[in-house]
């Protein structure tokens, strides 16, 4: 193994200890997604399903579950940004930067930790959705691909969250920035088809990153047709991941306070 990998694993183990000792942030990430699932299925479900879904489009829970599952990738980012920000404020990052270690291992260790935690959260949300009546029609290969889509989005959002954590000067600031990632799905095709929205909103919803990713996941799980969404999904994830990575790297190497 290269030193980068060894050091990243060391930092990942640290992150794991944190998650076990202080699970509140992980739980609240899962909780937010589950709450949205309950809200849209239980509270608004009947009304929305009847009024906005085209006739014969199936049950509302089957429509909404893929979007909410992807929301779990977004709600997991708060913990990531907060933890990176804390490491910076507490001087941990400065300490590690004066040591002769694989330079980015603090960040990569955190990314691995966030990835593991968020993937588990995603699985949990799927189980809750199934308990509420979600019945995907996917083949094993499609399930695997769906998992890949979720992992890809999580990876991309996590690097953005790392950058947010490094870019902000307070924990509250870091948390606030991630709200964009957490609640962007509200104006996407997650809860309603975009053609049921007012023109301006619909345009935004159709062109923001979550929509093609949601369409891809929904297509894989429910067989609703993917079209070119998969390519857009891939492109967005690559752009977000690369953007987050290079931004993080620049911020990480930046001198104190500059």
């Amino acid at each position: 193994m290269t030193t980068t990998m060894i050091d990243s694993v060391t930092m990942f183990r640290r992150d794991l200890k944190h998650a076990l000792r202080y699970p509140v942030m992980t739980i609240s990430g899962i909780g937010t997604a589950v709450l949205f699932l309950l809200l849209f299925v239980g509270v608004f479900g009947n009304a929305l399903g009847a009024d906005f879904l085209p006739a014969g489009a199936g049950r509302y829970i089957d429509y909404v579950a893929p979007g909410v599952i992807l929301m779990a990738a977004g709600t997991g980012t708060a913990a990531t940004a907060i933890k990176i920000n804390q490491d910076m404020l507490e001087g941990i990052i400065a300490r590690l930067r004066t040591m002769s270690i694989a330079r980015m291992s603090v960040l990569t260790g955190q990314v691995i930790g966030s990835l593991v935690r968020t993937l588990l959260s995603g699985i949990l949300v799927v189980l809750v959705a199934v308990a509420l009546g979600f019945r995907p029609s996917a083949t094993p290969v499609e399930y695997l691909a769906a998992f890949g889509v979720f992992a890809m989005l999580t990876f991309a959002l996590t690097w953005m969250a790392v950058a947010f954590g490094l870019a902000t000067k307070t924990v509250a600031g870091a948390n606030s920035l991630t709200l964009i990632l957490q609640f962007l799905p509200l104006i996407s095709s997650a809860f309603l088809p975009t053609d049921s929205m007012p023109a301006g909103v619909a345009w935004f919803a159709e062109h923001q990153p979550y929509t093609p990713i949601i369409e891809t996941l929904r297509g894989l799980l429910m067989g609703s047709g993917i079209g070119d969404s998969a390519w857009w999904a891939l492109a967005w994830c690559v752009v977000l991941a690369a953007g987050g990575f290079f931004w993080s790297r620049a911020l990480y190497n930046r001198p104190r306070g500059a």
Partner: protein
């Protein structure tokens, strides 16, 4: 060989010049102390020397490695304890040390042994299994230093290591520094406490207004300010007047009713002074000896208009 070599170091934040051409020379195996008031640029200097910040100009060599071309070599040779404790609050003391050992690739056995040894040495054995949030300020500082030592660095930077510690903890920290130096380590220490520099440092540099206003051994620095004096305390103005006439070289303070007579406070000088007092029938209520210490040096050198202020007030 010198451990740290700095010449012409400059650093500005925007228009605010913090370091305006600093030269430092730290010999291996010695304690070098950088003194300065708040905001003088001590932390900035430490951060530049430890690769956290880039200087605007100047050349820096640490442990023979050029900071500009071989920062990784510098990092391999140094240990840093910053101004504010950088310990992981959610890990125990032992885990914090183990994290350092793992990142430095000490190996399983050697790592565990090093952790146990440092816990012992810094009196943290009982607290080893508790998470760091439960530590007192002194314990955190000890853990912080212990973490710095895991990799046995040749040069250690300590930025205000005893600020906020009680006297006992300060002495423990001082002893740790002495032990390290005895083992051949070079220490670069910043402090606002003059007695700390006086106790520990082989050489002291005083940083003020972006430049080093003095540099030398503690003894050399003490020679820089006016000598000591004997303060005579009186109970009424008439007696002060009576004394002031006879001791024309004294400095009187009519409000405090004191007269400062120059003198180094040695036994001989004191005996002469006492003889003269009784001869002139000067009867002070009290007498105190003031020898110049680094506080006088510090205050004189870092005052806005130098020499106006001393520890004893306006002269």
């Amino acid at each position: 060989m010198s451990a740290i070599e700095v010449s012409g170091l400059r650093k500005a934040y925007g228009k605010h010049t913090v370091l305006d051409g600093i030269d430092l020379h730290v010999a291996e195996g010695t304690v070098y102390s950088l003194l300065g008031p708040n905001g003088a640029g001590k932390t900035t200097t430490v951060e530049i020397l430890t690769t956290l910040q880039a200087p605007d100009a100047g050349s820096v060599t640490v442990a023979g490695h050029d900071l500009a071309t071989d920062p990784e070599g510098v990092r391999r040779s140094i240990g840093v304890t910053g101004q504010f404790s950088a310990v992981d609050n959610l890990l125990t003391g032992a885990e914090n040390l183990q994290l350092m050992a793992d990142l430095l690739h000490l190996g399983k056995r050697a790592g565990r042994e090093r952790v146990a040894e440092l816990l012992e040495r810094f009196d943290l054995v009982d607290a080893a299994g508790r998470i760091a949030t439960t530590y007192s300020g002194g314990m955190r500082r000890r853990l912080d230093l212990a973490m710095t030592l895991v990799g046995r660095p040749r040069i250690i930077f300590l930025d205000e290591p005893t600020t906020g510690l009680d006297p006992r903890s300060r002495h423990t920290m001082w002893q740790s520094v002495r032990d390290l130096v005895a083992a051949g380590t070079t220490i670069f220490l910043t402090t606002q406490y003059l007695d700390e520099a006086d106790q520990l440092a082989d050489r002291i540099a005083v940083l003020n207004g972006g430049v080093l206003v003095a540099e030398g051994t503690p003894a050399e620095l003490k020679r820089l300010v006016p000598g000591g004096h004997v303060r005579l305390q009186f109970s009424d103005p008439a007696r002060l007047e009576h004394a002031a006439v006879r001791f024309a070289d004294g400095t009187r303070d009519d409000e405090a009713l004191t007269l400062d007579v120059p003198g180094d406070g040695g036994v001989g000088t004191l005996r002469t002074l006492l003889d003269r007092l009784s001869h002139e029938r000067v009867e002070p209520d009290g007498l105190s000896v003031h020898t110049p210490d680094l506080d006088d040096v510090f205050l004189a050198l870092t005052a806005k208009s130098p020499t106006l202020y001393t520890k004893d007030g306006v002269r």
